[in-house]
């Protein structure tokens, strides 16, 4: 591993300086510093641009739901194509992509094929974790593992290092229990203990998984039962960023050294917690759909631990 951030004192002292930028469709930018939202003007566009130029960027895509054709978006395949088109047109090419699950709607071979063709066609390395929709083939997840399980453990979890950042892809959509939420399980947690042993506390950590690793809204199943055990293992690190999907909307929370962020879907929006009878697909007027779909770009500044997250819509 090649760590660029081995000054531990610097890393710890900077842990509260984490900045997160959100760029909604029209270019609105805001930041969170030490958990307090700060207005757009305090972090100038030039500063954001500099971060982009001197660090490296990776892109998060989520909840493609290839095969979905209901009223909320009869053409989920087209909006994925649009999203990939926008990613390919970025002036600053991302180093790679992560996909935080629900690649397909029903785990059918043709849906996996279509997704692979559209996403893979852009030519980026893509690191996947499964959503619950990717594990409902007749083999209960065999189809996903055959395509994306190479080099992974258990149900498809793994880690890798890039530019001094340690990335951890977790699976929290298998062996779900009656009445429960997302589930990591003892085997995966034991693996995580082992995986983190060799990682220094000053190494920025990025964890990605499908279902949010914090209790966004348990009434709708938006949380993970044993996430606290995983987060306890990450306490000693100066900078932890947790990226999730599943809820098809942006939610963000900063808690100590951990920033939680969920990405939009490229397929259909879901309602804000508690604002509808169920978390099912939300049908909006046609002109509004693309403003609620999108992707997230994460920039890691060289020589610092700050990660900047920029969300862009398809509008």
């Amino acid at each position: 591993m090649n760590h660029h951030h081995d000054n531990e004192a610097d890393g710890i002292s900077r842990r509260h300086a984490l900045e997160c930028m959100i760029w909604a469709g029209t270019g609105v930018l805001w930041t969170i510093s030490a958990g307090v939202p700060v207005s757009l003007s305090l972090l100038g566009a030039a500063e954001a641009a500099e971060a982009m130029a001197t660090g490296f960027t990776f892109l998060q895509i989520s909840d493609s739901h290839i095969g979905f054709d209901k009223a909320a978006n009869p053409h989920a395949i087209d909006t994925l194509k649009e999203a990939m088109g926008k990613i390919q047109a970025l002036p600053q090419k991302p180093a790679f992509m992560i996909h935080t699950g629900d690649i397909t709607h029903l785990s059918k071979a043709a849906q996996f094929d279509n997704a692979a063709q559209i996403i893979g066609g852009a030519g980026f390395d893509v690191h996947y974790v499964p959503g619950e929709h990717d594990l409902i083939d007749d083999g209960n997840g065999q189809a996903y593992l055959e395509r994306y399980g190479k080099g992974t453990k258990g149900a498809g979890w793994y880690s890798f290092d890039q530019n001094g950042v340690h990335f951890i892809g977790l699976v929290n959509v298998v062996n779900l229990k009656a009445g429960g939420l997302g589930n990591l399980g003892a085997d995966q947690l034991a693996w995580l203990v082992d995986d983190l042993k060799a990682v220094s506390a000053s190494t920025p950590i990025v964890v990605f998984a499908h279902i949010p690793l914090w209790a966004v809204y348990p009434e709708w199943g938006w949380g993970t039962d044993d996430a606290a055990q995983a987060l306890a293992l990450l306490k000693r690190f100066g900078s932890v960023t947790v990226l999730n999907g599943h809820i098809h909307q942006i939610m963000q929370k900063v808690e100590g050294n951990v920033t939680f962020h969920t990405a939009r879907s490229t397929a259909f929006p879901q309602p804000a917690p508690g604002t509808a009878a169920s978390p099912g697909p939300m049908t909006v007027p046609a002109g509004q759909l693309r403003g609620l779909l999108g992707t997230s770009s994460v920039t890691v500044k060289q020589g610092g631990q700050d990660l900047a997250i920029i969300d862009s819509t398809l509008a």
């Binding site: 209901k70 029903l106 229990k177 429960g180 709708w220 099912g280």
Partner: protein, 115 residues
């Protein structure tokens, strides 16, 4: 904990006049009292259903999202039910059969089989 859905058959009267009649005319013959559990708005309706031994219970997914019917004790498990799909199961022995959705485990229900 079983959560009771707050919405029961909302919209049914509106659809009844034409659609329901056509459905009855074209569907295979079924006993009028054949019990059905609707999956709607991420809830099983009714959440608790009591039937006699030997009864066929049909689960039907009316959501735009797939669901899975899984027994808490693992004794039965449907395939993923897409919109409109059904899963029929015969309950032969008396007892309580708690189940949940394998994709959204906060969704729970129970079939009580009693003579």
């Amino acid at each position: 904990m079983i959560r009771f859905p707050t919405r029961l058959f909302v919209g049914f009267p509106v659809a009844f006049s034409l659609a329901a009649i056509l459905a009855i005319a074209s569907a295979p013959l079924k006993a009028a009292d054949e019990p059905m559990v609707k999956i709607e708005n991420f809830a099983f309706t009714p959440a608790v259903l009591t039937v006699k031994p030997g009864t066929v219970v049909t689960f039907q997914n009316d959501d735009d999202i797939p669901h899975l019917v899984v027994a808490n004790d693992g004794s039965f498990r449907s395939k993923a039910l897409d919109t409109g799909d059904t899963y029929a199961l015969t309950f032969t022995k008396a007892g309580d059969y708690a189940y949940f959705c394998g994709l959204h485990p906060h969704m729970q229900g129970r079939i009580t089989v009693a003579p």
